[in-house]
Amino acid sequence: MAFENKIDVEHPVHDIRSEAFKNFEEKGFPTKKEEAWKYTSLKALQKIDFSIFPKEVDALENKQVKKYFLQEIDTYKIVFVDGIYSSFLSETTHDGVDICLMSAALTKPMYKQYIDVYFNKVASKDDSLTTLNTAFSREGAFIYIPKNKMPKKPVEIVHFSTGNEASLMLQPRNLIVAEENAELQVIERHQSLTSHEVLTNVVTEIFAAESAIVDYYKIQNDEKTASLIDNTYINQKSKSVVKVHTFSFGGKLIRNNLNFYQNGEYIDSTMKGVTILGDKQHVDHHTLVHHIEPNCESHQDYKGIYGENSTGVFNGKIIVEKIAQKTNAFQQNNNILISDKATINTKPQLEIFADDVKCSHGCTIGQLDEDALFYLQSRGIPKKEARALLMYAFANNVLESVRISELKTSINRLIAEKLGVRLGFDL
C-alpha cells in the first residue's frame, strides 16, 4: 500500500497529523519480528491494493441493513457507508448531549475546546497503526456527554462496507468523552454487506471523568473477507467505571488493542470477551491495563472457542506502578479447542512494582468436560446438542455484565447460531 500525503494543511489538527504521518513513515506496518505481533501477520493484507479514499456510493435502503442494528429498542445511530457518513441511516443529537460526527467536531469552532483537550491525547503517538489512523482518518463518531448527563438511549456506531470498491481500507476515528458523573452506552459494529476485501484500522479514544460510567460493546461478526484492527484507548479518572465487551464471531483477521489507563483512584476497568471462530479465522486480543494510582481494580475475562483451522491469541498485560498500592487486578482467559487444527496462544504479562496488591491470572486451554457431557446425555440430551449446550454455557457466562437486555438477547442468539445449537428454550 502506498500512502500519498493528502493532508489538508489548513486543517485544525494539521500539526498532529503531520507528526503522526512522520511516525508511521519511520515505523511502517508492524511485522512478526515485533513481540506484540509475533502471532499476527499483516503481510498478506499489505499485498492487497486497497482504495484509501473511496468514491461516493449509492445510498443504502434502511431495510437492507436493518438487521445489523439493535432490534426492539430505539438507539442513536452514527452510520457510515464505505467510510462516508450516511445522514439517512443515522440519528444524531445535540439535545443536552452531543452525539454526532468527528468531522464536525474537528472543524466547528464550538468544539475546538474539546478537541484541544482530548483529541489524540490518550491514543498512542508511537504505535504505527494508530499514527496511520491519526494521519489519515477523516470521519468517525464524536460523543460528548456533559456533567451529570446521560443520553436517553444507547448509541450505535456502525460502519458498512458495500463492496463498491473491490478492496477498501477504512480508518474511522472516534472520540468519546463522558464528563463527571455522566453515563453512556455505546455499541460499535463493522459490517461488510458483500464478500469483498476490507481492512478497517479504527482508533477510539474514550475519556471517563470522575464517577463517569461507560459501557462499550464491540460486535465483530463480519464476513470472512473483512479484517479489523481495533485500537481503543481509555483514560479513566477517579471512581469511573468503564466496561468493554468484545464479541468476536467473524471476520478474516481481527486484532484488538485495548488499552486502559487509570489516572485516578477507586477506578474500575472491566474487559470481557467472547470469541467463537471457525474456518481460517484469526483473532488477536491484546489488552493493557496500566494501574497508575492506588486503590483501583481491573477485571478481565476472555473466553474463546476455536474450531476448524482458526487461531487465537490472548495477551494480557497488566502494569502496576509502585505507588499503585491496593490494586486488585484479575485476569482470566479460558479456551476450548474443538478441532485438532485450531490453535490458541495465551500469555499473561504482569509487571508489578507495588507490593500491596492482589493480582491473579489464569489461563486454560482444554476440551469439553467429559463428565459434564455424560451428565447432560444421561438426561436425554444427545451428544452433539450436549456439546453445543456446554459451549453455549461456557461462552454465555461472560454475558452477565451486559446491561442492555436486548443486546444480551441478540448476542445470546448469535452465540447459539454460531455454535449451531438448537436450544430447547427461548432466549
Binding site: D369, A372, F374, L390, Y392, G424, D426
Partner: protein, 250 residues
C-alpha cells in the same frame, strides 16, 4: 424390566464388575449396598451407559432390549435415569432451561413436538412443589454453588420431571441432613408406581428407612455376594460389612 446377566465391566483393563446378575421387575425397589470400592457406582454408570467403562462380558437388557450399543441419551429416552452421586456443575445454563432442553430432546426422540411453554411451566411448578424447591432456585445455574442437599434434591426434581421407568439413585443420601433426606425420600415415594422401578445404591441403611426396599443386595469385590429382604439391610447396619467380607473370603 431390567435384566443384568454375568456383567463384567471395567476401566482401562482394570476389571471392576466381575459377573453381576440382577433382575428388577416393574413395581420393585432394590437396594444395592456394599463397602467402599465394591463397584456400586460403577454398576450405576454402566447401566446409564458411561462411555469410559468397557463392558467385556455379559449384558444389560431393558424390556427385552440389549443396551450394549445404546448411547447414554438413548438409554435416557428408553426410561433409564441416574441420580448422580456427584452432580456436575454447569455454569451458564439455568435449571429451568436445562430441564426444558432435556424434556424436549426426549420428546423429539419419541417423535413428538416440543412441549408447549405453558405446559412446561406448569409441570416445572408442580414438580418443584413436590420437592419443596423454591422458584428462585430454578433460575440459578445448574448445580453451581448448590449445597450438597440442594444438588441431591435437584437430581430428584429432574427425575420427577423426566418420569423414568427405572431410576438409579447413587448415594442420594450422602450429604443430606435429616429434613432434606425426608423430602427427597418422600419425592421418590410419590413417584413410585407399579409400572416403574427404583435401584437405591447406598452405603448406609438410613435412606432405606424412608425408601423401603423389596430386595437388598450386597455388592463386594464386583459381585453380588448376598441377597435378601430389607432385614438384610438392618443386619448390615448392626454388624457392618466385615462379616460379609469374611463369609465371602471362605
Amino acid at each position: 424390566m431390567l435384566k443384568i446377566s454375568n456383567l463384567h465391566a471395567g476401566i482401562e483393563n482394570n476389571e471392576i464388575l466381575k459377573g453381576i446378575n440382577l433382575e428388577v421387575k416393574a413395581g420393585e425397589v432394590h437396594a444395592i449396598m456394599g463397602p467402599n470400592g465394591s463397584g456400586k457406582s460403577t454398576l450405576a454408570s454402566v447401566i446409564a451407559g458411561k462411555e469410559e467403562y468397557e463392558v467385556t462380558e455379559g449384558s444389560v437388557v431393558l424390556d427385552g432390549e440389549d443396551l450394549e450399543d445404546a448411547a447414554p441419551e438413548e438409554r435416557a429416552h428408553k426410561g433409564i435415569f441416574l441420580s448422580f452421586q456427584y452432580p456436575v456443575e454447569i455454569p451458564g445454563v439455568s435449571v429451568t432451561n436445562f430441564m426444558k432442553t432435556a424434556i424436549n430432546e426426549g420428546r423429539k426422540a419419541r417423535g413428538l413436538e416440543d412441549m408447549p411453554a405453558k405446559d412446561m411451566l406448569k409441570l416445572i411448578r408442580e414438580k418443584a412443589e413436590l420437592l419443596e424447591i423454591d422458584r428462585k432456585f430454578l433460575s440459578r445455574s445448574l448445580n453451581e454453588g448448590f449445597s450438597g442437599g440442594e444438588k441431591k434434591r435437584n437430581e430428584i426434581f429432574q427425575m420427577a420431571m423426566l418420569e423414568p421407568k427405572l431410576a438409579i439413585l447413587d448415594e442420594t443420601d450422602s450429604g443430606l441432613d435429616i429434613d432434606a433426606l425426608r423430602i427427597v425420600a418422600n419425592g421418590v415415594n410419590k413417584l413410585k408406581s407399579k409400572d416403574n422401578a427404583v435401584i437405591v445404591i447406598t452405603h448406609y441403611q438410613r435412606l432405606l428407612d424412608y425408601i423401603v426396599p423389596d430386595f437388598v443386595h450386597v455388592l463386594h469385590q464386583g459381585k453380588i455376594v448376598k441377597s435378601g429382604t430389607k432385614e438384610l439391610a438392618h443386619e448390615l447396619e448392626d454388624k457392618g460389612y466385615d462379616w460379609i467380607k469374611q463369609e465371602t473370603a471362605i
